[in-house]
């Protein structure tokens, strides 16, 4: 529930804390649970997500505003956006491997996973549904990605501790991890209606 007349800092607080994309809005969960077993991989994934989402959202916004909408092709939105995202991820991967090998080492392996990261497609759709302008879309997208990074880094920190804790046999592995996520989600619910948002 973001609108164009929200101040930029309000958009950021809403996206990072109050409506955290992972713990409150249930997006990007597969990568959240899959990559958060180590802290380094979490940071790498977070960086990749911020980078790809910013470009993907901008490209989708431009595609919608200047192609799909004027030509009354709204029904092609889902297909067009996901193709753009898939193509972008391929291009980014190719470019990084050649032009910035150091950066590719740091986050290149996560790039293919990002195509199916539902948050990327979801945010591209949300900025259209919320009717945001280009600048607000960019702010919202980056804030959402930062919220994802925050959640995954916090989670990775906790997971590393869980590995050395005495957990009952039937809860070992995913069950205790989900229970942990439940507690984190409860904590983030505490931000609800902060600043009257």
């Amino acid at each position: 529930m973001i609108s164009n007349d929200m101040a930029w800092y309000m958009i950021i607080v809403s996206a990072v804390l109050i409506n955290n994309i992972v713990l409150i809005r249930f997006l990007a969960l597969c990568s959240f649970f899959g990559v958060s077993n180590k802290l380094e991989t979490s940071i790498g994934m977070g960086m990749a997500v911020i980078f790809v989402m910013a470009i993907a959202s901008s490209a989708s916004w431009i595609l919608w505003t200047y192609l799909l909408l004027p030509f009354k092709l709204e029904f092609l939105r889902t297909a067009a956006f996901i193709l753009v995202i898939a193509a972008l991820v391929q291009l980014i991967e190719m470019y990084l491997r050649k032009a910035m090998p150091a950066l590719y080492q740091a986050m290149g392996i996560y790039l293919p996973l990002i195509t199916t990261n539902c948050a990327v497609l979801a945010v591209a759709i949300l900025i259209i549904d919320y009717n945001l302008g280009f600048l607000n879309s960019l702010i919202y997208t980056i804030a959402v990605a930062v919220g994802y990074t925050l959640a995954i880094i916090l989670f990775a920190g906790i997971r590393e501790r869980i590995n050395i804790a005495p957990i009952p046999e039937f809860l070992k592995g995913y069950p205790i991890i989900f229970i942990t996520a439940s507690l984190m989600s409860m904590a983030f619910l505490g931000f609800s209606h902060l600043f009257g948002l």
Partner: protein
């Protein structure tokens, strides 16, 4: 593996949500009510079966290098069809599921099965795989939804009918239809499924 095993596989041993731990986003987001969960399960199953059929049917003509974009085009076409059909047939369900309807296109289950199964097997096996995985997914989601709904709201609704209502006297634990409840119930369901598999095997 024989045809029956392909079918049963998706329900327990390789249950997409409880064992493979994929397709999480819709599982948690829409399972606040059994009705919404079931609707999502059916929608995703339709896309899964339809795209499995088409991808398996054209697998011999699909150049390997561009198979992923072709999968995406096929899957997103069916997702868009489901999107508009649901909007027309059940606007309330459509509003409840929100952005998760178009997100079916990035549901790891569908793309995953396309790559791992439909692209390499015949149409009949692909149909059975789709049905099996679909039933596993829908069943899991509906159970998740029913548990969360009964504890968090005192009701169970399915196919737009209220199947059970614990009445005014029941004070529900609201947390269960909110985000923390989703993670909690799913965690316990995974543990339960694991126990059941161990007992059987």
């Amino acid at each position: 593996m024989n045809k029956w095993n392909v079918f049963v596989n998706g329900i327990m041993k390789e249950n997409p949500v409880l064992v493979l731990v994929i397709g999480l986003c819709p599982a948690l987001a829409v399972s606040g009510s059994a009705n919404d969960a079931f609707g999502m399960g059916i929608a995703a199953t339709f896309v899964l079966i339809a795209s499995n059929i088409l991808i398996s049917a054209v697998r011999k003509f699909t150049p390997d290098q561009i198979r992923i974009p072709i999968f995406i085009v096929i899957i997103s076409t069916f997702v868009t069809i489901v999107d508009y059909t649901m909007h027309a047939a059940d606007p309330v369900l459509y509003a409840n599921l929100g952005v998760f309807v178009p997100l079916i296109v990035v549901n790891c289950i569908i793309l995953g099965r396309a790559e791992a199964f439909a692209y390499r097997n015949d149409v009949l096996s692909s149909i059975l795989d789709g049905i099996g995985m679909g039933i596993g997914f829908t069943l899991t989601l509906t159970v998740l939804g029913a548990v969360r709904e009964i504890i968090g709201n005192g009701t169970i609704t399915l196919l737009n009918y209220e199947l059970l209502n614990l009445g005014e006297g029941f004070k529900p634990a609201l947390m269960f239809i909110m985000p923390p409840g989703a993670f909690l119930v799913l965690g316990f369901l995974i543990a339960l499924n694991r126990l059941l598999i161990k007992r059987k095997g």
